[in-house]
Symmetry: C2
Subunit: 215 residues, 2 copies
């Protein structure tokens, strides 16, 4: 069936894979150097190796280059972020206001990701009781892109402080596409092992055991 | 801030990473050899390195070992799969009936994954307009687990042909947890580069360019 022999992943590779997971960051501070189109396209092709429910490949990537659309997305972020600030407690609002939560001004490459919930690809397999697996498939494609990008020194930031209906309208996409994420891509100003929100005092990681139950 | 130097990922590592993406499979045929608890726990700790909205770490892993609960999950799958078969077109029903869609009988390790949509961790950051990012974070933790497992020759199968409310009830989890996936883990009977659904003639992959738009 397969022409290639199954790869044998060495202990060294596995240790580096863990390092990749540890050093993947949600990047909000980018250098303005451009990202080559060939690099972007290669990363998108890699993203398509992600798992998808019923092999439905429901991810849809919208490369956003037109200045007016980028500006409209940025304005949407500003409005949503101002709203989010008002919903923070008095204690945390000043800290929230100091956080940098998106790299929309500097990131040279911006990609909106949608999930096509009406795709006939996959013939509905695996999603009759859980249609949300279509969006989960798109989320895993983003994660694949994220890891592949980081492995070549390219940073990715996931912007979720946006109104999905507004973004869909700005980008004029089919109405049956679900907005999943707006991605900023480019070369990061710095590489760190610690999550930015932890460095900035917003939140800390818990130990993995805190998330495990037995039944 | 960080004590460790930023890792430099070699071209060789990046090529192996692509091979890992290519050879990750949704495994439905497992050997019955047990998976060591220490291995499972290590993989779960790796999964917790996934990105999460606002550092909310909303993933909740329920290790399912009690035979009566496993049997109830299996019965739920059988019912949902029988329903799914009836919704297939006449043309595709016989092919659907021949597909093996879950490794519930043989997989030595079974883990249900939930997302805690009510967690206060992360203080709501990044999810006010998109609460679904909580479930997306859990999906990316599953994908992290999947890749780490495959790198050490362990297979993972994602079962989505289940009724979420029934699984939540079987496993007696808090009512504010969203069911995301039921995972089968163990050593695969075979390792292949081609997706099982493609080998079995159910669906084919499209070229990546089919999923890209410009705006």
């Amino acid at each position: 069936m397969d022409e290639n022999p199954s790869p044998d992943f060495s202990l060294d590779f596995r240790e580096q894979l863990i390092a990749l997971f540890r050093w993947r960051r949600d990047v909000r501070r980018f250098r303005r150097d451009p990202l080559a189109d060939t690099t972007r396209n290669r990363l998108l092709a890699t993203a398509c190796l992600a798992p998808s429910v019923g092999l439905s490949e429901p991810w849809r990537f919208v490369i956003v280059s037109e200045p007016s659309r980028r500006e409209a997305v940025r304005a949407c972020f500003e409005r949503c972020n101002a709203d989010a600030l008002t919903s923070q407690t008095e204690n945390r609002a000043s800290l929230y206001a100091r956080l940098k939560l998106a790299g929309l001004d500097d990131a040279p490459c911006q990609i909106a990701v949608f999930a096509d919930s009406s795709t006939s690809q996959g013939h509905g397999l695996g999603r009759q009781t859980m249609p949300e697996t279509i969006a989960y498939s798109a989320a895993m494609a983003i994660h694949t892109l994220w890891l592949a990008a980081r492995a070549e020194g390219i940073g990715l930031g996931w912007v979720s402080i946006l109104e999905p209906a507004t973004v869909s309208s700005i980008l004029d996409v089919p109405s049956n596409w679900t907005f999943v994420a707006y991605l900023c891509l480019g070369y990061p100003l710095a590489e760190t092992e610690m999550p930015t929100l932890m460095h900035d005092g917003w939140e800390t990681r818990r130990i993995p055991e805190a998330f495990v139950l037995h039944r």
